[in-house]
């Protein structure tokens, strides 16, 4: 399992820039950043090297930030790689709240998925032979 940082930001000029400044000042390196936006606000999801410290720094800057457990899993970098993984979720009857691609390198891609039961999903995926990425791997 992987710790993701979620930040609630108003959909307004300069907010994302303020967020990244806070992380840069706290010497935090990001590996992935994705935004779910509405007309009023956005949720920024970040994978970084020091999630606890990132949340602390963001809260100190009056931003609403929290750590969310997500599943990061390695899939083959070829057509059908993700489809097979999602098939597995369907079999497990696990719903995916949201997801995004974390990295693509050579033969492998890493996908991040938010599921209601991260523990059960991780165990089942590991049992099925999937390689999971943890905070320690980063």
């Amino acid at each position: 399992m992987l710790d993701q940082v979620t930040v609630f930001l108003e959909n307004d000029k300069g907010r994302l820039s303020a967020l990244t400044r806070v992380l840069s000042d706290a010497d935090i390196n990001m590996y992935a950043l994705t935004i779910a936006e509405t007309s009023d606000y956005g949720l920024v999801r970040i994978v970084c090297n020091k999630p606890e410290e990132a949340v602390k720094a963001l809260r100190a800057a009056d931003m609403r930030a929290s750590v969310t457990e997500v599943v990061a899993v390695t899939v083959p970098n070829r057509p059908g790689g993700l489809a097979e993984l999602l098939q597995k979720f369907e079999e497990l009857d696990l719903n995916i709240d949201y997801g995004y691609c974390f990295s693509v390198a050579g033969e492998e891609a890493v996908d991040v998925l938010k599921v209601s039961d991260a523990k059960r999903a991780s165990e089942a995926l590991a049992a099925a032979g999937y390689r999971l990425v943890t905070s320690e791997d980063l």
Binding site: F8, D40, Y41, D62, R64, S66, T68
Partner: protein
């Protein structure tokens, strides 16, 4: 404790003098009484007061600056003015006697809280023309407290003084008390341990029971509501006792009526309406049947504390704070009460009114609490919908709820700005 009949005798004697004093020394009242056919020399009972015409804030404004004064200027010791945010200020003048009973009225709140010379009173109402600061100051001196005249602002310094000077009674607006509490907590200070407060006397704006409970929890003290207005004196017209069940009117100095704000008809005890005040012994700027625009009621029956001074209920808002949204009357305090049922959001809010075509659009901005799990858009939208639907069932008005970033709603050091009305602007 004086039986109520005794208070009524004091009121009648005082009012007889007040109306004559007004008629003989204030040209405005002379004209007003003559026009209304009210004979100030014919007041025999308290009910006769009902024959007198009302005085409004506009009348006071029209007579700016000294038109409402009933004594020669050499007898005036102090001047206060209302904030005048909506136009010309209204002016209150105080003779030695007026200042003395003002202090006495405010001091009652301190006495209700068993306060006195052993207490350190931390006053962070704004000092100046606003009656909050000096009203509390006069009261604190009258009660013999060690008085720290902080005035408002510089919250970190307020917190330092609260910690280091061992203040036991806090006097400021309720929203500023909350701001002090929240700032202290954010600074890593635990007000429950690091402050020494026993009581807070908070007024100048309406606050809900839930807001009070939250304050009491954070600061570990007892909050007493104080009511007053510059036009009749300042804070101290009515103050809560430790029963926290209504505010005892200083009936030896003010005669209160509750009227229907539409018809002007006097309502029986227990019914909600606009509070109308007549000063009993104010010398410099007496008022006769002044329409406060504050909505309250006389609580029938006696208070458990045994005091005979009648109580007004906690303010339901003001006739001019009352929002008319698509024809429905809404008080900000009602919105606060609904908000407090959601622990995912804090107590800070702002109501924004705009107009789309011919329709009023109300947006309530609220800030999330740290414990709110907001990882998914649908969780936020669900919360917004839940708040909205609870508001709808409580107020019968559709209100759009927007969760905004923490601390993005401006904090105030004086009265909180809760409502922004942009309905006059073209959309």
């Amino acid at each position: 404790m004086a039986p109520h009949e005794q208070l009524e005798a004091i009121q009648l004697e005082g009012i007889k003098k007040t109306v004559i004093n007004c008629y003989e020394n204030v040209p405005f009242y002379h004209e007003l009484f003559d026009e209304a056919g009210f004979d100030p020399y014919a007041v025999e009972t308290l009910e006769d007061v009902q024959k007198a015409p009302f005085t409004t804030k506009q009348d006071l404004r029209d007579n700016y600056p000294y038109g409402m004064f009933a004594v020669p200027m050499e007898d005036v010791r102090e001047i206060h003015m209302s904030s005048g945010t909506t136009g010309i200020a209204t002016v209150g003048g105080y003779t030695e006697h007026d200042l003395d009973f003002w202090g006495d009225c405010f001091a009652r709140g301190i006495w209700y809280a068993d306060g006195g010379p052993k207490d350190v009173a931390h006053i962070c109402y704004g000092y100046g023309l606003f009656t909050g600061g000096l009203g509390a100051h006069h009261g604190s001196l009258k009660a013999g407290c060690t008085t720290i005249p902080m005035s408002a602002g510089n919250t970190e310094r307020q917190i330092r003084v609260l910690r280091e000077m061992g203040s036991t009674i806090l006097m400021c607006t309720p929203s500023y008390a909350m701001h002090i509490a929240d700032t202290a907590i954010a600074m890593g200070i635990d007000p429950k341990k690091d402050f020494h407060l026993r009581a807070g006397i908070h007024g100048a704006e309406a606050f809900s029971d839930n807001f009070r409970r939250e304050l009491e929890k954070k600061l570990d003290y007892k909050v007493l509501d104080v009511y007053g207005l510059t036009e009749t004196m300042g804070p101290g017209v009515a103050i809560e006792c430790m029963e926290q069940n209504g505010l005892h009117l200083a009936e030896d100095h003010f005669y209160a009526e509750i009227i229907d704000p539409e018809t002007g008809e006097v309502l029986p005890d227990g019914e909600w309406g606009e509070l109308v005040l007549t000063t009993v012994d104010r010398e410099a700027t007496p008022v006769v049947r002044y329409r406060t625009r504050d909505i309250t009621r006389i609580i029938p029956g006696e208070c458990a504390c045994g005091r005979t001074h009648r109580r007004i209920d906690r303010l339901h808002g003001r006739t001019d704070d009352m929002l008319i949204i698509r024809g429905v009357n809404v008080f900000p305090s009602q919105i606060e009460d609904v908000m407090k049922t959601f622990d995912q959001i804090s107590s800070w809010y702002q109501i924004e009114l705009t107009r789309k075509g011919h329709l009023d659009v109300v947006t309530l901005k609220v800030e999330p609490n740290p414990n709110f799990d907001f990882d998914e858009v649908r969780a936020i939208e669900q919360l917004q919908r839940d708040i909205s639907s609870r508001l709808k069932s409580a107020l019968s008005v559709g209100i759009r709820v927007r969760i905004v970033e923490p601390r993005s709603i401006p904090r105030s050091e004086g009265k909180a700005v809760r409502v922004i009305d942009n309905r006059g602007d073209d959309q």
